[in-house]
Symmetry: C2
Amino acid sequence: MIKEKLLSKKQLERYPVYLSYLKSLQDKGVINVSAPILAEGLSFSEEQVRKDLAAISSHSGKPKFGRNLKELVCDLEAFLGYNECAKAILVGVGHLGEAFLKFSGFNDFGLEIICGFDVDDNKIGNTIKGKPIYSIEQIAKIVKEHDIKIAIITTPNNVAQSVCDLLAGAGIKGIWNFATVHLNAPKGIVIENVNLASSLAVLSHKL
Amino acid sequence: MIKEKLLSKKQLERYPVYLSYLKSLQDKGVINVSAPILAEGLSFSEEQVRKDLAAISSHSGKPKFGRNLKELVCDLEAFLGYNECAKAILVGVGHLGEAFLKFSGFNDFGLEIICGFDVDDNKIGNTIKGKPIYSIEQIAKIVKEHDIKIAIITTPNNVAQSVCDLLAGAGIKGIWNFATVHLNAPKGIVIENVNLASSLAVLSHKL
C-alpha cells in the first residue's frame, strides 16, 4: 500500500531524478541496482534512497542482487503518471512559450501541450509544431471542450495575475507558473512556480 | 550589518518575489508599504516579511507610515546584484537554449548571456540576437578570455554530465542546470538545478 499523502515536495522532486538516472543505467546494460549504488550516483543518502523507493514501489530488492532496474523504472513511470499524458494549455507565446510549444520532451513527463494563447494578432491563427495559437478570449471555450485541467503561464509579469484569474474562471485546476510574480488563486487551485529569478538569486548568492 | 550567511535557500528565493511585487506597487503610485500589506499580497506571514526585509535592508519602517518603497527596491536590487550584470555562457542551443539567448529579461536579474555553444555544425557560426554560437571545443578559450564564472546547461540529458565536466575543467564556478539529470561536479562548483520534470511531478501529484 502506497501512502502518497506522506510524500514531501522535496521527495516528489527526487523521483524524476531517480528515473533519469535509472534510465541512463539501463542504457549502459545494467540489470540490477542497489540502494548504495543509487545513493552514490545521485549524492543522496542510502537511507533516503531506501525510503524514497519503498514509498512508490512494491518490488523490494533481493539481498546481494539489489533491485530489478526494469521493474523500478516501471514503478516510477506509473507513479509519476508518465504512461498517460495529461492535456495542458499554454498562455503567453513569447520566447519561452514558443520554446515550450516546440519542445516535445514534456510528453515524456506526462504532459501534452495542445495549444497556445496570446493577445498578439500576429501570432493568433498561426501554429507552432502543429499546435494552434488562439486569442485568450477563447480560453474558457477550449478548456471546456477538451476538459483541460492544467495551464502553463509564460506571460509577462504584469498580466500574469489577470491570466491566472481568467484560467481559474475557466475551470483550470493546476497552474504551472513561469512568470516571476506571486499569483493569488482561489482555494482548490494548485499553483507550482518555476521562478527563474529566484533560482538565479540562489546561484548568485552561493558564488 | 547584513548577516548573509544565515539566509536559507527558501528565503533567498523569496527576495525576487518581493522585488517584483514592490515594483508592481510602484507602478500603481504607492509610496510607502507596510509589512502587513506585503504579507497579505504575497501570502507570507507578517513575521516572515519583517525578518526577510530586516536581513537585507538597513532602512527600517516608520510606525504608521511603513517602509519607503523606493528605498526598499534599491536595497533589494543591490542585495540581488541586479545593478551589475554577471556574464554567463550557455551550452546547448536547442529550443530552450535558443529561447534563453533571445530572452532579454535575464539582464534584469543581473545575468548577461554573452554566447552559446553547441555541437551542431548548422548552428555553429550563427548568431542569435547578436550572440554568437561557438563549437563546444571553444568553451575553455572563451571562458578564460572573458573571465566567465557562470554557465547555463540546456543540453540533452545524455550529454549534460560530460558538459558539466568540461565546464568545471574550463574554470566555471557556478552552473545553472536545466537538464533533468543529477550532475556531479568537483567541490567548490555550485550547481543550481531547475528541473522541470521535478516541478511537474509536484504539480501533477497535488492535482
